[in-house]
Amino acid sequence: MTNSNSAQEPTVRRRDFLRGSLGLGAAAALAGCGFSGDTPAPAASTSPSGSAAPSESPAAKAVIDGDLVYFNWAEYIEPTVLEGFKKEYGVKVIETNYDTYPGMLAKMSSGNQYDVVLPGARFVEQLRNQNMIQRIDKAQLKNANQSFGWGSYFDNPWYDPNSDYSIPFSMYTTGIAYRKDKITTMTGSWADLWNEEGKGHIYVLDEADEAIGMAALLLGLDVNTANPDDLAKIKDKLISQKPYLRAYSTDDINNLAGGNAWIHQEWSGDFLNFINYTAEDPKIWEYIAPKEGMPVNSDAWVIPANAPHPGTALVFLDYLLRPENIIKNIEYLGYPLLAQGGEATYAKMVEGRPSLAIDLKNIDDTKVYRNHTPADTAARDTVWTEVKAS
């Protein structure tokens, strides 16, 4: 794998190495310099534009070349779709799950080899910039026209120019779910997560981006801010929320179903899934789109650079793009898929619940989570750690 930025790489590595071995002796020398997972060629920047041209790898062909090593959220696919793939192509699916995007990144960085992974948009960019994923040859996908070529936004999304490296999957907003039978004083603002009525029954998603983004919107700041003053305000705001909170949790459906949550920062699709499949009485539940604005995000399938079976991965992605599978997944997941007809299917599902409507126009607006420089990422992580730890 070649890299246009690789010229500066050796010096960095050697300096790391010397530092390590001088200071720490055998153990450091043993593990080499930059520690493991310092994958093939570190890119110099993680600039949000993603303009640094990644490597050109020989694109794989859509031919079954082994079992599918599949890495996704738990149950984030319609079961019969997965079953159908196994039956039709006679392969096994080796499934592993992650429970946060950073967790996913950690597992990929530690050298684990997967065939297909479903990262969130900003992680697609990060993986692309770090040369951890491979180019997807659209010509190999018979159903590529479902996502591309009809004037779709995803012909050239913000996180992956020309969608060279990814196939878009779903999109979602982050809003607030609440119980109408318990709470009568909602104002349609993020401030509702500080609601007195709901004190002790309010949940915030256990994700740095979502929590910081929510506070930023409430304070009128950029959801991606890394400005120290902004972060200080956000931190104070989030800490002021603690007395109202029941917990930070991404186990949203359980929290809603168990009756512990009266107000819950919530992903649109999980809410739909919950009221369609789990809620005892769907009518008492409402999803609101806060007036300060909602983060809109999407995810996309990628094939890691070190995928053992890229051929099978391509066959799988093509299979997912079949119109019938797109519809099955939308209905099961409750998220609109980023493909032809996806929006219409979704619109039918959310009839009468306008707050769940998602406008594709918002997919690259300011309320999308972006990548940061390592220093900025660290600053945001520190705020989040300190909020949770306090």
Binding site: G23, A106, S109, Q130, A247, T377
Partner: protein, 300 residues
């Protein structure tokens, strides 16, 4: 120190005893494979943790070795201190609760279990062989606001319901539930080993069974209790599952902090530093523990 540790640890564990040495070369060779294994996979891995705790995160967001003290400086922060103190408070509370719960149970089984003793110990152990996660999950659904317990309370007339979950109490309860068996077994073992003639003698001497209990039984089982303290305190201090499944917004423990650095914040060097601090804290505990057991050994 090292042999003290060995003896002290050995003393807390079942059936451990010192023994004379019959030397044969065979035994020396037998030592090689396990020794090599422990050095390669345990000692060196701990050394890597220590080494990485002085490392940095490079421009790529990846960990790199270094000689920086920055991670330790970052820990000099009231936030981390809060988490540390909180973890200590939770673990100590857990140990104390386990002691008060475990002692009567061990006592009842050991001295009043009769022929059901083995069956009772089996009944005690079985749940701990079934998935810890599933049991914790069962508790969390049982105790949720509209879970079975609150439904039951509702039918009895508590219309408001009680919030059990997502509180520090729930975290400690989870820890107690998870580790109490490690307190019961050593106490049970020491009660089993105790000479019951002591109790008889004590009854003659003190007349009151309660006074006998405190004057005879408790001191005789101190080794078991100390062993239990060790076996409960250590895992409790490093746990992160209980706080994650049962905790609230302010129940973060060191274990959660470490896990977060490794799997969310992508800051392995800081996570390593936290791990080293945790190990040091345990070392301090071990020193005090050893003093206590030595004092105990002198007294008996």
């Amino acid at each position: 120190m090292s042999t003290d540790l060995q003896d002290a640890v050995a003393a807390t564990l079942p059936g451990a005893k010192r023994q004379s040495a019959t030397r044969t070369r065979l035994w020396g060779w037998l030592l090689l494979p396990p020794a090599a294994w422990m050095i390669v996979f345990f000692v060196s891995s701990i050394l890597i943790v220590v080494a990485l705790s002085f490392g940095t995160v490079n421009a790529n967001g990846r960990p790199a070795f270094g000689t920086s003290l920055a991670n330790y400086q970052a820990l000099m922060n009231t936030t981390y201190l809060t988490v540390f103190i909180r973890s200590l408070v939770y673990s100590v509370t857990t140990v104390v609760l386990c002691m008060f719960i475990g002692y009567p149970v061990a006592y009842a089984i050991a001295l009043h279990g009769g022929k059901y003793k083995n069956a009772l110990i089996a009944a005690l152990v079985i749940p701990f062989f079934a998935s810890y996660l599933i049991r914790m999950y069962a508790w969390s659904t049982l105790l949720s606001d509209e879970g079975l317990v609150n439904q039951a309370l509702h039918t009895v007339g508590f219309t408001d319901g009680v919030q059990f979950l997502n509180t520090p109490g729930a975290v400690v309860a989870g820890l107690v539930y998870g580790f109490v068996v490690f307190m019961i077994l050593p106490i049970y073992a020491s009660l089993e080993r105790m000479d019951t003639a002591l109790i008889e003698a004590g009854k003659d001497l003190y007349h009151s069974p309660l006074r006998t209990f405190f004057a005879v039984t408790v001191p005789a089982t101190r080794a078991g209790v100390l062993g239990g303290v060790l076996l409960v305190f250590l895992p409790a201090l490093g746990d992160f599952v209980s706080a994650q499944l049962l905790g609230g917004p302010s129940t973060f423990m060191i274990g959660n902090l470490i896990q977060q650095q490794f799997f969310e914040s992508q800051n392995q060097p800081l996570g390593s530093a936290l791990t080293v601090v945790l190990m040091l804290a345990l070392l301090v505990f071990m020193v005090f523990y050893l003093r206590a057991t030595q004092r105990q050994n002198r007294e008996t």
